[in-house]
């Protein structure tokens, strides 16, 4: 490994992490409401002022389920120069990237053009966010890599944006969210997968999003904790759709990352899919292999929020069922449920598996040498 280990003062939060790590889920924020204006056509400035983003949910501002903390972020992550958590590169470097020895940080911008109803506006905001990622973040710190955000409900526009970024090494993946108007395997999203496969970018599917559907199959729940825990159920169903619609049969080189939705559920979902497939395969003849094989070959998982059983053996057995080569370490900085790099993995893991978990899997998947 040719990554220099940085000197850190004693007593910093992550003194336990001696080697470089990849953080595959960092959330950059805008410092001000107008920060995107330089990247957006003039017509949208007044449009946004007048009509807002008009998402697939009722609230003009903010999420339908109030977060547990302002901006769902750490209270100690406000930059000294002002602005919300995650909006200052220099403070992100000082608080997170430097002390935690982050060699590769994957940016996953939320609050973009995804999950909004006006598709022209969605495309414009997504393109602006992509330009903003280069100018504010990736061009200023080579450890950071961006995610191409796309107008998720407009496959044609999304594919065009992906092809526009082809070969641009500021970006290492395409970003989708788990909750959309339809389950992610549906054909309206196939142009996105076709373009991503063509330009050689994995697709990250981050928990969250708005598609207008109740966020459980039995309607709208009451509490933020139900939304948080429920991201894993939404992700499971979205993944089942991707597999059962034959997306990985049609796009055999496509790689996907399940981001911030847990990974402990992966084995039981795969077993259930295989068992039901054994009975009902006649309905889905486009599948040539068992569902679990598509998952094993095409899916990676970010670790945060880390599964936290009482027994570390249970954790290790679960990871063995998935494969140590499929996990990508992530902190979710600056969000409140951030995972501390030095504490996330219990003792008892081989050096090779630690190295894969913290860095090498991510470098390999994202093509970082």
């Amino acid at each position: 490994m040719n990554i220099q280990i940085r000197e850190r003062p004693e007593g910093t939060a992550s003194a336990g992490i001696k080697t470089a790590i990849a953080d595959c889920d960092i959330h950059p924020a805008r410092a001000t409401k107008d920060e995107l204006h330089p990247y957006l056509a003039k017509r949208w400035h007044s449009h946004l002022e007048t009509f807002g983003v008009h998402p697939y949910q009722g609230m003009m501002e903010g999420p339908p389920y109030p977060k547990a903390q302002p901006n769902a972020s750490r209270r100690d992550a406000y930059p000294p120069e002002g602005g919300p958590q995650g909006s200052s590169l220099s403070f992100m470097q000082k608080q997170h990237l430097d002390p935690n020895n982050v060699a590769l940080g994957v940016l996953n911008p939320l609050n973009t053009g995804q999950g909004i109803r006006n598709q022209d506006l969605a495309g414009a905001i997504c393109a602006a966010i992509n330009d903003w990622q280069i100018e504010k973040w990736t061009s200023k710190d080579s450890r950071l890599k961006g995610s191409v955000v796309v107008a998720n409900e407009d496959g044609v526009s999304a594919a065009a944006e992906i092809r526009r970024r082809a070969g641009d090494r500021n970006f290492v993946q395409v970003l989708l969210l788990s909750r959309n108007v339809e389950p992610l395997g549906q054909r309206r999203y196939w142009p996105i997968y076709e373009a991503a496969q063509e330009v050689g970018l994995p697709i990250g599917v981050h928990a969250f999003g708005f598609g207008g559907n109740p966020i459980t199959a039995s309607g709208w729940p009451s509490y933020y904790i139900e939304e948080m825990v429920g991201h894993s159920q939404c992700q499971q169903t979205a993944l089942a759709s991707l597999v059962l619609e034959g997306v990985f049969e049609r796009f055999p080189k496509l790689k996907m990352v399940m981001v911030e939705a847990g990974f402990g559920w992966a084995p039981s979902l795969a077993w259930r899919l295989d068992k039901v497939f054994a009975r009902l395969h006649a309905e889905v003849p486009h599948l040539k292999r068992k569902p679990s094989e598509y998952i094993r070959d095409h899916i990676w998982w970010t670790t945060q929020p880390m599964e936290d059983p009482e027994s570390r053996d249970h954790l290790f057995q679960t990871i063995e069922w998935i494969g140590w080569d499929k996990l990508l370490f992530a902190t979710d900085y600056p969000h409140w449920d951030y995972d501390e790099p030095s504490r996330v993995l219990p003792a008892g893991v081989s050096d090779a598996n630690r190295q894969a978990f913290y860095l090498d899997n991510a470098k390999q998947l994202y093509g970082i040498s």
Partner: protein, 358 residues
């Protein structure tokens, strides 16, 4: 293979209503007239298309009629071979899909009366679940109270995908009645299709709907726990039926972690989600969503950290296992006894304790 022991309780049997017209004798004049003059069709839910392989094991499928519609078949295929002492009938007739609360209530009453006359009266081993529709909570509670006078009804039956999450306070009068009458709430796979059948919208395939049952059970458990149902009703048992259970450990890891993080949002939750599940929630055995190797399954039982959670079921006539391999390989005799006898009796107080030979 692991051998069943005689005297067990089969907690998930599905007697089938042959046709909506089979319920006409149990309806009043008005509803009989409605069903016939309007030409109402049979209430078959998309959750279980009659001819789907899931709906019946091939060797259990009758030459004609719906799988599970013949008592003689059920006796010969499910009750006798496994030495069943009690079998709990959970009719999956699509009465929950109806939108009118009056029609749903009339159909539920007819269905429950049909179950008594056509099944419970004809085989002393059979017990029933009170099917309710939740379009009207008042009517659901009244139906529970009406049926509960017959002690052969041992639980209340709801679907995992309905109109609202099951923990919502709106439903609590149902839970109060069930607790008062010594009836667990059985929550069975299936949707009223009043919401999209997944939390991310409508999929294309029947197989997606079936796989998604497991995710629906997960969100319902979250709802039931965080809304405080078991703080209010600590003696209420709920049984997840045809839910699968191998998803439970990682689900609880996640729920427990977030509960520790944001428990200020639901301060009435007075015990950890793990404790609540161990004391109040049970799961039927079938389907076992696990690889066939006994080693993996034994690890999963270890991850569940309790041998009291699973209740024996065949899920008859649904196709969950072949031959007589109703119990997964590698279970200890102690665990078999708990699953088949001790756990069900601890869950269903209305089952009379019956002498059994080990």
């Amino acid at each position: 293979m692991t051998s069943p022991i005689a005297g067990g309780v089969d907690c998930d049997l599905h007697p089938a209503v042959p046709h909506l017209t089979s319920l006409l004798p149990y309806m009043n004049d008005y509803w009989r007239d409605q069903v016939t003059t309007r030409g109402m069709t049979d209430l078959i839910s998309q959750s279980y298309p009659t001819n789907s392989p899931i709906a019946s094991r091939p060797d259990w499928r009758p030459a004609q009629g719906k799988p599970g519609s013949s008592l003689a078949d059920m006796q010969r295929q499910a009750l006798d071979p496994f030495g069943t002492a009690f079998g709990i009938c959970n009719p999956l007739y699509g009465v929950q899909m109806v939108f009118s609360e009056d029609m749903a209530d009339a159909f539920c009453r007819a269905l429950n009366d049909w179950l008594v006359k056509e099944w419970l009266d004809k085989d002393g081993r059979l017990r029933g679940s009170i099917v309710i529709a939740v379009q009207s909570i008042d009517k659901a509670v009244a139906e529970i109270e009406r049926c509960a006078q017959d002690k052969r009804f041992v639980q209340v039956l709801m679907l995992v995908m309905g109109d609202m999450p099951l923990g919502k306070r709106h439903y609590w009068p149902i839970y109060a009645a069930a607790e008062r009458l010594g009836l667990p709430i059985g929550i069975h796979a299936g949707s009223a299709y009043h919401n999209p059948p997944t939390s991310v919208g409508w999929g294309s395939y029947h197989i997606e709907d079936y796989v998604a049952q497991a995710q629906a059970f997960q969100t319902q458990l979250t709802s039931l726990i965080v809304e405080g149902v078991f703080a209010r009703h600590p003696n209420l048992k709920m049984v997840m039926l045809e839910s699968g259970f191998t998803w439970l450990p990682p689900f609880l890891w996640r729920l427990h972690k977030f509960w520790r993080g944001v428990r200020m949002e639901t301060p009435w939750v007075d015990r950890s989600p793990l404790e609540i599940v161990r004391s109040n929630i049970r799961f039927s055995l079938q389907p076992v969503d696990a690889p066939p190797e006994g080693d993996t399954l034994n690890r999963l039982f270890d991850h569940m950290q309790s041998d009291e959670l699973i209740l024996f079921s065949t899920d008859y006539p649904h196709w969950q296992f072949d031959g007589d391999e109703v119990l997964p390989k590698g279970l200890s005799q102690d665990l078999v006894r708990k699953i088949m006898i001790d756990n069900p009796h601890a869950t269903y107080p209305r089952l009379q304790v019956k002498e059994t030979v080990r």
